[in-house]
């Protein structure tokens, strides 16, 4: 999966789950301040990412460190690299 495909998949999955506008989904956007997610939403974000990329996320500390969309893209990329 290319970096661009990862970005598109993350954006589409989160946009659908949290009813976000795709235009607002800039890499530097804070998932909390800019996209309006809260701590409960991150529980569902993990489920959505697992379903979109068909992997299991066990590293809860890494999820807690996520602040921006770019952090999510990086996290998914690392995860995909580990699995390949």
């Amino acid at each position: 999966m290319t970096e661009e495909q990862i970005i598109t998949t993350v954006n589409q999955a989160l946009a659908e789950e949290f009813e976000l506008e795709l235009e607002a989904m800039q890499p530097a956007a804070s998932i909390y301040a800019d996209l309006g997610l809260d701590s409960l939403d991150t529980v569902d974000m993990v489920i959505v990412l697992e379903a979109a990329f068909k992997f299991k996320i066990r590293d809860e500390e890494a999820i807690k460190k996520i602040r921006t969309l770019q952090d999510i893209y990086d996290f998914v990329q690392r995860k995909m690299a580990e699995l390949s």
Binding site: F18, E19, L40, D41, D44, V46
Partner: protein
């Protein structure tokens, strides 16, 4: 302590009779039933496929996915009913965000989330795969916790569980909080889930009507040929305010909650007693300073079970004697809205008073030994009730009575 007057300044409803006050009032006046046959229940092994059903309500019209994630269907309906009530009351959102405004709803179950979360865990074998919404949706306080967040109220915030009198006690407690000066405005009501999952074991008790050939004629409160209740649901909401506050801000005052009284039977779990509801009716009249002859309409609890209607009729005779107010059960049209019903009766009575009629007790053909002598409304009465007594009663023998005043 001088008790304050309590004004009804807004009502809202989502029921099997329609979505919104106008549709519901028209159905009540016309004597139109909202009961249908749900074929799936037959396939599943229910005794009765009869149920009320909500038509034309789309939760997406009211709230986004993020808000709905933590809300049950009936909580979204409660939100819609609350919005309608607030619009009629003319209360702006910024006037809700204070410690003098509260929320009390009646609710006694939230079945689906509990089932879904267990299924999800069994499939996934990890709790984090269940998602964030289920814990909130599984609680009976789901309505008030979500409305509080959505509306920003800062006063009372709780749900009240007392089986089929939950809605009645919720309106009563809301009125008492205002009358005693502890709150200035309380949004109150009741809501009830409609799904087969929450009703299957109740169906198994044999208390539901099985007259499925003509669903609209199935529910026959007080009639000798009644054969059981029809489960139903939805949401009913009211805005209650301290009377002077409502008057000063120029609100349209639809009526008043004149008094509230409660009692419990202390007898059988599911068979109502001959004395409990009577004590609540006597208490509510005494608190309102009214004689039985000053009540012109009883919006009865009567659900069309043989034992329940018989006990209520006997209790009405005992309290009212020769005074013969009109009596009807709106459940003849709506079915039994269970946790919602006590609040729905207050909304329905308010609409009757506003729109100038008393709704009929559909399907009443023949009195039995208990209902004989009651002045049952068999055809819509074209006059506004001025003083209404609403009865509600629940499993365990918990009774709520309210007297409403609609002096012009």
């Amino acid at each position: 302590m001088k008790w304050k007057r309590v004004a009804i300044t807004g009502v809202g409803v989502v029921s099997c009779l329609g979505c919104g006050c106008e549709a519901v009032s028209a159905a009540l006046r016309a004597g139109r039933s909202g009961i249908v046959v749900d074929e799936e229940r037959l396939e599943l092994g229910f005794r009765s496929p009869l149920t009320g059903t909500i038509r034309g309500f789309d939760p997406k019209d009211w709230l986004g996915r993020k808000e709905r994630k933590t809300m049950t269907d009936f909580s979204v309906q409660a939100y819609a009913a609350t919005r309608e009530a607030l619009t009629l009351a003319g209360v702006a959102d910024e006037d809700l965000r204070n410690p003098d405004t509260g929320l009390i709803f009646g609710c006694d179950s939230s079945c689906l989330a509990g089932i879904e979360q267990v299924e999800l865990l069994r499939q996934s074998r990890e709790t984090k795969a269940i998602g964030s919404g289920h814990i909130f949706r599984s609680m009976t306080s789901n309505i008030t916790m979500n409305l509080n967040t959505l509306l920003g109220t800062q006063g009372a915030c709780w749900s009240l569980s007392s089986a089929c009198s939950s809605g009645g006690h919720a309106v009563g407690q809301a009125a008492d909080l205002i009358a005693s000066g502890r709150q200035q405005r309380v949004i109150c009501g009741g809501a009830q889930e409609i799904n087969w999952q929450s009703m299957c074991s109740f169906d198994g008790l044999g208390a539901f009507s099985t007259a499925r050939d003509e669903p609209q004629k199935a529910c026959r409160p007080f009639s000798a040929d009644r054969d059981g209740l029809v489960p139903s649901g939805g949401a009913a909401a009211l805005v209650l305010e301290e009377y002077e506050l409502a008057r000063r801000r120029g609100a349209r005052i639809f009526g008043e909650v004149l008094s509230y009284a409660f009692s419990s039977d202390g007898e059988h779990l599911s068979v109502p007693s001959r004395g409990g509801l009577q004590r609540a009716m006597n208490g509510v009249l005494q608190r309102a300073g009214l004689q039985p002859g000053q009540i012109d309409y009883i919006c009865a609890h009567a659900t069309a079970t043989p034992a329940g209607d018989g006990a209520e009729a006997d209790n009405i005779h005992a309290v009212f004697g020769d005074a013969k107010p009109w009596v009807s059960s709106t459940k003849s049209m709506t079915g039994h809205e269970l946790w919602m019903s006590g609040a729905a009766q207050v909304v329905y009575s308010t609409l009757m008073a506003r729109d100038g009629f008393i709704a009929p007790n559909l399907n009443f053909t023949t009195p039995d030994d208990h209902s004989r002598g009651l002045r049952i409304v068999t055809q819509t009465v074209d006059e506004s009730p001025r003083r209404v007594l609403c009865n509600s009663a629940g499993f365990g023998g918990t009774n709520a009575c309210l007297v409403l005043g609609f002096d012009a």
